[in-house]
Subunit: 209 residues, 2 copies
Amino acid sequence: MTGSLTVTETDEERDATQLILQDIQSGVYAPGTWLKQIDLEIRYGRGRNEIRRALDRLALKRVVEHVPNRGYHVYLSDGKQWDDIAEIRIMLETGIAGKVIARATSMDVSVLRELADRFQGLLHSGTVLELYEANLAFHRAYVDLAGNAELHSVIAELRQRTSSAPVSQWHTRSRIEVSAAEHHQMVNAIEQKDEPWLKTLIEQHIRQK
Amino acid sequence: MTGSLTVTETDEERDATQLILQDIQSGVYAPGTWLKQIDLEIRYGRGRNEIRRALDRLALKRVVEHVPNRGYHVYLSDGKQWDDIAEIRIMLETGIAGKVIARATSMDVSVLRELADRFQGLLHSGTVLELYEANLAFHRAYVDLAGNAELHSVIAELRQRTSSAPVSQWHTRSRIEVSAAEHHQMVNAIEQKDEPWLKTLIEQHIRQK
DNA sequence: GTTGACAAAATTGGTACCAATCCTATTTAC
DNA sequence: GTAAATAGGATTGGTACCAATTTTGTCAAC
């Protein structure tokens, strides 16, 4: 089943790693699928070398799994892994709550609110990937308020590990609606500098999704 | 300056990534040093391909930095980065304190104590690398008690980011002695199930080093 | 003596080829 | 009819080669 559909011109210069990752996150490659080098080579119009490097990186990120002389296949995440990562994210995102509240200016709050609005706006019109990225942007903006440059990349990595199948995460529309509402509540909590409330919200938000 | 010294036979089968990482951590390659592919090829007796993959991985881990058409050089860590990573580690390692105390059996405690002893024992006779690894083993055992498989790798990654020059971390012997003492105090805190004390100890321990 | 241009050497990074390995389909024996 | 064996095809992964780029060394001009 050698796919022959080539991607759009705008992706021409982007890194193959991100393109493959995006396709995995969009559900193009289902968990367990074997990623044949030739197929990827054709699909993304890259050399064998770049494809191999991309696969190696994704294997390091635990997005795909490498079996010697067999190839790479999309990782099948078990329930335990999801729980473990959720727990870590809760520790980190609640851990910075105090710092975020202390540092957030009124302008920061309106930026956050805007991002929360954008997520909510995509609820009806947006694709799964757009929703995923809007959600990512909101959390990223929140984390950035802590002023910890390293934390940013740590959480990004964590998210990538579970996001193998974001489609399966948000099954129902009602769940996404809850998420959107929680985003706004988080913004309010930051605005009112209510740290305990913010922490509770974050824990709920990460666990349920 | 093409080095020609080959490593021992036992390292023959190990991954080049870890060998290079170890040499960086041991201080063989000082921060800022350019890692030429040919040199590494000879030193570790590997093909060009494996060396490139290893460098790419280390670049991803932020241990080295990649400059297109120039090569890879050992990363120069600034003070801010160290503080940021220390903060993350504190959030995570104190965050699991309650779980560790709840789950730790008396056998787990004695294992920890043994590791703390080993670190202390190496204080006089051990090399910097041995000390580094003994310290790593202790913290790894502590983290494992939380039963979070993902956390293990997250913290390992974090440690690697700053450990570019572990030699410079432990300047004086007195500091290492303090670390050894704190390890034992942590074990005691776990044994007595004193969570606040354990958290305080961890924060002190990570910050000072 | 210093600065700038130019040539030579060295290094990186991509492409192509080929061996080793694994999967699949057909054939053969029972 | 079923199961094992074998041949064929496909895929991975390593090695070697070569082009593009950069750095170093040399020479000339000011």
